[in-house]
């Protein structure tokens, strides 16, 4: 089955101790591996000012995860755990695999177009990597 790729971001209360957030990440990782998924990347963005008040807080501790899975319901499980976790005040999952596919299609199409006509000094297409 095709593999799905997700961005998962959650925000903890600013006064959450480090071990708490680590524990949450570990729980998520465990749930993922139990269901044949994998956590590709974990990034702790740390404390950031929130654009608006969430649960009476003005700042939050951001954690960013990249999750891969072949099973769609993994996300439901992860979100359930986040919902239940006390320190977590907000979370959001974004499904990215379709997006990536579309991106690659555009890149391929662009490369094909460029290869078709001989261009002299074609500044290699500045990839989206710079801007994404």
């Amino acid at each position: 089955m095709e593999e799905r790729l997700y961005d998962l971001i959650f925000i903890c209360r600013p006064d959450t101790p480090e071990e708490e957030t680590d524990k949450i990440v570990a729980t998520l990782e465990q749930s993922a591996t139990e269901r044949g998924g994998k956590v590709d990347k974990v990034e702790k963005w740390g404390l950031r000012r929130l654009a608006y008040r969430v649960m009476r807080y003005r700042e939050g501790y951001y954690v960013y995860l990249v999750v891969r899975s072949t099973q769609g319901d993994l996300i439901k499980e992860l979100e359930r755990r986040l919902k239940v976790a006390d320190p977590v005040v907000k979370y959001m999952t974004v499904r990215l695999d379709e997006e990536i596919k579309r991106q690659q299609k555009l890149v391929r199409r662009r490369e094909r177009k460029a290869a078709r006509r001989p261009r002299k000094g074609a500044a290699g297409s500045e990839q989206a990597a710079a801007a994404s």
């Binding site: 961005d7 971001i9 925000i11 950031r48 929130l50 654009a51 608006y52 969430v54 939050g60 960013y64 907000k90 959001m92 974004v94 997006e99 579309r102 991106q103 555009l106 890149v107 662009r110 297409s125 500045e126 990839q127 989206a128 710079a130 801007a131 994404s132």
Partner: protein, 99 residues
Amino acid sequence: MADESPKPQSQGPPRREGGAPPRKGKRQYFRKRKVCRFCVERVDFIDYKRAEMLQPFVQDRGKILPRRLTGTCSRHQRWLTLAIKRARNIALLPFAAEL
């Protein structure tokens, strides 16, 4: 869309102001064909996680700026809107900010 090319026969008030309408109602009409920033850079993905990228396309009050002010093309404007709305959901951008 308004045609700005100067025509040999004059049609009323001369339209030399980059597409400003003859009447004085609206402030801006076209801004002399500003190009889409994203098209120039050929971006394929507008990342909702980078608020600093999105900031210039948002008003002080947090509202999304219309295409005609930013010069963005329709495709990128759609992606931009999606990214902004996602960023708002994750508190990276405000929904509404006090003026």
